[in-house]
């Protein structure tokens, strides 16, 4: 099943490219929807039958689907498998891709060429699912990189049509920074291999590389920096606002909803279990940078004038929470990070959909140009935006809360070998960060949705929520509420983390 959902989109993308361009954009989107829908079904079938199966230790094996030698001379294996950490993320990926394809049925970037866009989305899906299911460090690296070129194309071709130079720069910065980071990560992997003699994650997890200094520390640092670029952690986040702001709607959704998770997933999957001692050494610094990210991201949001950039910066803050959760190395913190991963994917995906919808209607994402009083002009979209903002600022009862809460709980009670006082300081600062988060989202709502309708004439052709938008966004809204009121849905999966 796993292999099927990996290969299916890839083959489908190939097929889509090989057919001549005569097939219409609608048909291509429908085709993409069907394929990604199948993948979604498949990924849901991966969902564990009974909870609490997870291999962070030697006691349980992850559900391995495939394990064959790939390049024996380099010690690389083609080893795929899933466990409760990866399955929710895979489902999230499949869901968001499906929704993006569905969205493309009606709403596509102005540049056109939807056929290629759909194909690229499918390739991205393969890469991301591959990363989430890779159990070999090199395979992880490979899948990690698969995503880059398609995403680069998506930003470079379908990006903001007002600013060709800007979107090119954004795409290049994105891809180059990530590649540099992942090259460093690869170095870290190789150091791990030199010490441990294997690249297999399962083996490495059951017999981790001990020692918090010397080569393990260097390896951990390299891996952490590589993943931090992807996360992205302050101060390596500089690629993110541009990339998100310039990307087309579906690109932003996937970028924020899925791609950012690769970094945090890598930390949880590789850094923490494989290099436990070295990770403990760097954890306070990771936590510090994450905390700075939370505050800096929120502060930057407060001064943004572009709605997509604002949401992008908000991702910096949210990913900071996830980083902080990981750095606590505690059960609560790690679970919080995992939960926040999913929640952020749903909520920020929704936010970018909404921002895209607003941008499409006004042909700009600049707050001042869009004007205010969206409540009057686009009441439904504005209401959904408010909802998404509330969810994103971590309102209890919605999905965003539990991740942040568990992260803070983890910071209150970090792993015993970490300096507790430091993490208490992080917790307090992060807590204040949540207030700042609320502040900028309220500012967004205030500047965008509220205001005197008389002074803000409605844009021409501005139609409120269309049917396709409702259909694509409904699952995200539903899941946001569902996970908000029933966090156990996910938390129960991570039995013995």
């Amino acid at each position: 099943m796993l292999l099927a959902i990996l290969v299916l989109p890839l083959l489908a993308a190939g097929a889509l490219w090989s057919v001549p361009a005569v097939i219409g954009d609608r048909l291509a989107a429908a085709y993409g929807s069907v394929i990604s829908g199948l993948v979604l079904v498949g990924s849901v079938l991966l969902w564990p039958q009974n909870g609490g199966w997870f291999a962070y230790g030697p006691q349980d094996e992850p559900r391995t689907e495939i394990d064959v030698a790939w390049i024996p001379s380099l010690g690389v294996r083609f080893h795929l498998g899933v466990d409760s950490i990866s399955v929710p993320l895979i489902v999230l990926t499949a869901l968001l891709t499906f929704l993006c394809c569905l969205y493309s049925l009606k709403i596509t970037p102005r540049i056109g060429r939807t056929r290629s866009l759909i194909a690229l989305l499918l390739v991205i899906e393969t890469g991301v699912i591959g990363t989430f299911s890779a159990l070999d460090l090199v395979l992880f690296f490979v899948c990690f990189e698969i995503v880059l070129i398609p995403m680069w194309l998506v930003i470079d071709i379908w990006g903001d049509h007002h600013d060709p130079a800007g979107r090119k720069r954004a795409a290049n910065t994105f891809v180059l920074m990530t590649v540099f980071g992942s090259a460093l990560m690869l170095l870290g992997f190789l150091l791990v291999q030199r010490v441990a003699g294997t690249l297999d994650i399962v083996e490495l997890t059951s017999s981790p590389v001990r020692g918090g200094h010397g080569i393990p520390l260097v390896a951990a640092l390299l891996i952490a920096v590589g993943l931090a670029v992807k996360v992205p952690l302050w101060p390596l986040h500089i690629w993110l606002p541009d990339a998100h702001a310039k990307a087309p709607t579906v690109g932003s959704v996937l970028l924020a909803g899925v791609l950012l998770k690769l970094g945090t997933y890598g930390m949880i999957r590789i850094l923490v279990p494989v290099l436990p001692d070295a990770t403990a050494t760097i954890a306070p610094y990771l936590g510090a940078f994450s905390t700075v990210a939370i505050v800096a991201g929120s502060l930057a949001c407060l001064a943004q004038t572009d709605v997509k950039r604002l949401i992008a910066y908000s991702s910096v803050g949210h990913m900071g929470f996830i980083g902080l959760g990981i750095s606590t190395l505690s059960p609560a913190g790690l679970r919080g990070a995992l939960f926040a991963n999913i929640a952020h994917g749903l909520i920020t995906g929704l936010l970018f959909f909404l921002a895209g919808a607003i941008k499409d209607r006004h042909d700009t994402s600049d707050l001042r140009t869009i004007g205010r009083a969206l409540y009057a002009r686009l009441p439904r979209i504005a209401a959904l935006l408010t909802f998404a903002c509330l969810a994103s600022l971590g309102l209890p009862g919605l999905a965003g809360f539990w991740g942040e809460m568990l992260v803070l709980l983890g910071a209150y009670h970090p792993a015993p070998w970490l300096p507790r006082t430091t993490f208490l300081v992080f917790m307090v600062i992060a807590g204040l960060g949540t207030v700042l988060t609320a502040a900028y989202f309220l500012r967004l709502v205030r500047n965008l949705c509220q205001g005197d309708p008389a002074e803000n004439p409605p844009a021409a052709f501005a139609v409120d929520l269309s049917r396709i938008e409702l259909v694509t966004w409904a699952p995200l809204i539903t899941l946001t509420v569902l996970l908000g009121v029933w966090p156990g849905l996910l938390l129960q999966q991570w039995g013995a983390l």
């Binding site: 949001c301 059960p331 209401a383 917790m427 207030v435 509220q450 009121v485």
Partner: protein, 587 residues
Amino acid sequence: MIATVWRVAGVGFSLLILLFAALLYGATPDQYAFMNSQVGDLTIGFAVRTDDLTVLLLAVVGVIATCVQVYSLGYLHQRPASYHALVALFTAAMVTVVISDSLFFLLIGWEVMGACSYLLIGHYWERRDARSGAVKAFLMTRFADVGFLFGIFVLGLGAHTFRISEIDPARISPGVLTTGTLLLLVGVVGKSAQVPLQTWLPDAMPGPSPVSALIHAATMVAAGVFLIARLYTVFSASETTLTVLAIVACVTMLFAALCASAAIEVKRVLAWSTVSQLAIMFSALSLGTADGRHAALFHLVTHAAFKGLLFLCAGVLLHQVGSAALVVLRRYTRRGKSRKALQVTFLTMTVGLAALAGVPGFAGFFSKDTVIEAAWEQAHDGSAVGWVVLLSVCLTAALTAFYCVRLWLWTFFRTPALAGGIGAFEDGDAAADLDEPDSSKLRDAPWVMLAPLVLLAVAAIALGYADGVHLNWVIGLISTALVLLGALPAYSLWRRGADPRPLLLEREFGADPAYHGLVVVPVRWLAKLTVAGDRDVIGAYVRAVGRTGTLASQGFRRMQTGNVQTYLTAAVIGVVALAVLAGVIGS
């Protein structure tokens, strides 16, 4: 259509709450946990419970919510669907807080209330003051809730459970207990708008009046009192927390009462009075005795009735007159016009103000006396807290009487000293009073609005006797004297047409500008700094790398002169350099 559905649903939901309260009345206390999940060695999940406190609060919430929903049918014509839905959600959130037995479940209700209050205060989002008031309300309570969340962590981890019924103060180390309760107290202070987080509540007044009634009478602000009552065993186990609570409460009640005395808008007066009255409840709770808790809850219930009533009355004024500012209302007082036109409103508001002021016979009188009595007993036992509470409650009682009478007189009665009356609220515009407003269309509100008023007015009287009258006559006399002490100056000032408002009070002790200068401005600066830093520091590095690459590229291109002998020279130099370099690196 949708609006109608939500209207019906709103009213129905409130009635449902009442029904539940009725059903649960007298039932044995019970708890039920659900949807739990294990996180490490902690259990995170939900739980509900029923006990007397739940039933009491459910009843209060149910009644007030029903009144508000019904009242809103007549009051609100703008965007009713979202309004009714949000009020229902608001109520539901309060119900969640009330029935919850899990700290996290409670937190959900607690913060959803914050969000709903934000949305409802910003209901008239066209208005600037509504927008900023809403944001302010949310952010201040959010800030406090961070403390609340940390308090949950401290207490929960200290007690190894997040179930309220399982938290046993005896098993928590004192330090943790104090820290936890103090942090929880931060949340309570924020939610109930106590000093120093008081400024959001008066600014929340641009919201629709029924919402104000809901917030002030039954939901949001009362949640703080409820929470301490719910966790009373825990709070009373920590001496420090109680002392802090007492200090906060005493400062707040005086502070707010003073502010109320200088406010020139009906709703703002009422808002400050709420703060003050809540502080009285907190002061009762801070005594740490069962009597104190009882007194606080009693006051909570009566306060719910008369404060809900007062806000709904203010709503009528707003609805029928168009404004609740004293200067506007003044114009309708000629020949008792407003009294006659708004007869029911006048009467019920009189009842409400009397109850608030603690006029003997009205509910507020009894409940306040219970508080004083509890404080007295405590003070009698030699507790300093008791004395402080006693004194400040007494002082507050007098102040309350003062601003109630002031409000009543200035709203409904024409001052004998006419010119001074004008000058009291509107400087120098003598013609304003002569400009007779068109009061011919002024008539009382429709029955859907009046019925809740009457109901609540009855309650504002009757609830005083619901607890069984066991009045300490001494205290009763003293408090009556205090009421008089407060009422007489107000009357005398009114007679003279003077309304002295010290600048300090009118500016509400300058808390708002101070917060603005201390928090908002620096944060804005920091935000600008961050963006500039991103652009000019971090971004500059990235750009510099790119630029360096380009420059280097151009440089290498420049070196490619096409002259083969340059190449050869470079190569030979390279040989020499390599020899030297390898020697250096190798050794």
